[in-house]
């Protein structure tokens, strides 16, 4: 991992991967969503509304995975001072927030036909809403640190680690508390889903993961480019002041 601590080496790899991830993810997403709308079977209890599964579950997994990535990057930043860890964490925050918001919105659109209500204040929905607020707070903290010229500030990293407490709460909420939300259908090595749903879900998760990865690389490239441009201008201004 430390081989890619050098921004120049990382940028070479990122330039190679950004477009294939975005184009591959986009094409796969279009194919899977078209199949899901046109050909995915209805479910015995939930009817056609089960098609929302193919957008709701990947966005939920990626929102939770995004914060897990922020926590790991924050740990790397605080303990090993990995120079790209803070950049990676900042780059994940916005796509993570968008996917958390999408998870809540698509879940609400699924809840109305499946449960007869748009929203309930139960453990799963509330902890997912908390995750969205955590993302928004992280973005505000990271922006404030950058604006104040403290790009290496430890406050966003500490917040990223503390916020990770919410991830197991989201995961186990449906087991710990009574909920309208169903318990996990997929656990380690075991699935209660019929094959068409499982294969479609894996394909849509892969598609959205590729898009998520492409966006994170694009954000990292943008943050690094801004940092380099700003450092260059600052150096030039200091040289001019010395003369």
């Amino acid at each position: 991992m430390h081989g890619y601590a050098n921004p120049a080496r990382f940028l070479r790899l990122a330039k190679l991967l950004t477009a294939p991830l975005l184009i591959g993810g986009g094409l796969l997403a279009v194919a899977v969503l078209a199949w899901a709308l046109a050909a995915a079977p209805a479910e015995r209890l939930q009817g056609d509304s089960v098609k929302i599964l193919f957008v709701h579950v990947p966005t939920a997994w990626l929102a939770m995975g995004g914060w897990s990535a922020i926590a790991i990057a924050s740990l790397s930043e605080l303990v090993w001072r990995h120079p790209l860890a803070g950049v990676a964490a900042r780059a994940v925050a916005l796509p993570g927030a968008v996917f958390a918001a999408l998870c809540l919105a698509t879940g609400s659109l699924w809840g109305r036909p499946a449960w007869g209500t748009w929203w309930v204040w139960d453990g799963r929905l509330t902890s997912m809403l908390v995750l969205l607020f955590l993302y928004l707070a992280y973005i505000a903290l990271a922006d404030a640190a950058t604006r104040d010229g403290q790009g290496q500030s430890r406050i966003p990293a500490i917040f990223g680690l503390v916020g990770a407490v919410n991830i197991p709460i989201i995961h186990y909420s449906v087991l710990w508390w009574n909920s309208l939300h169903q318990p996990p259908s997929i656990t380690a090595g075991k699935s209660e889903m019929a094959a068409p749903f499982l294969i479609g879900l894996m394909a849509s998760t892969l598609a959205f993961s590729l898009l998520f990865g492409g966006v994170v690389l694009a954000r990292m490239r943008a943050i690094l480019a801004d940092t380099q441009a700003e450092a260059r201008l600052r150096r030039r201004a200091m040289n001019a002041a010395d003369v």
């Binding site: 975005l22 929302i52 999408l102 919105a105 109305r112 499946a114 490239r221 943008a222 801004d226």
Partner: protein
């Protein structure tokens, strides 16, 4: 399941929201990346 409720408006809304938000996010991230990399190149030339 809510009996007698047409599920399709909810399905279409969920898919449209996801496609628009994800597409918008990708377009914005690529545009911001290109703008930042152009700024870096300009700062190198000055």
């Amino acid at each position: 399941m809510s009996e007698g409720l047409n599920h399709w408006p909810f399905i279409v809304a969920a898919y449209a929201l996801t496609v628009l938000a994800t597409g918008g996010l990708v377009a914005w991230a690529v545009a911001a990346m290109r703008a930042a990399e152009a700024r870096r190149e300009r700062s190198r030339e000055r």
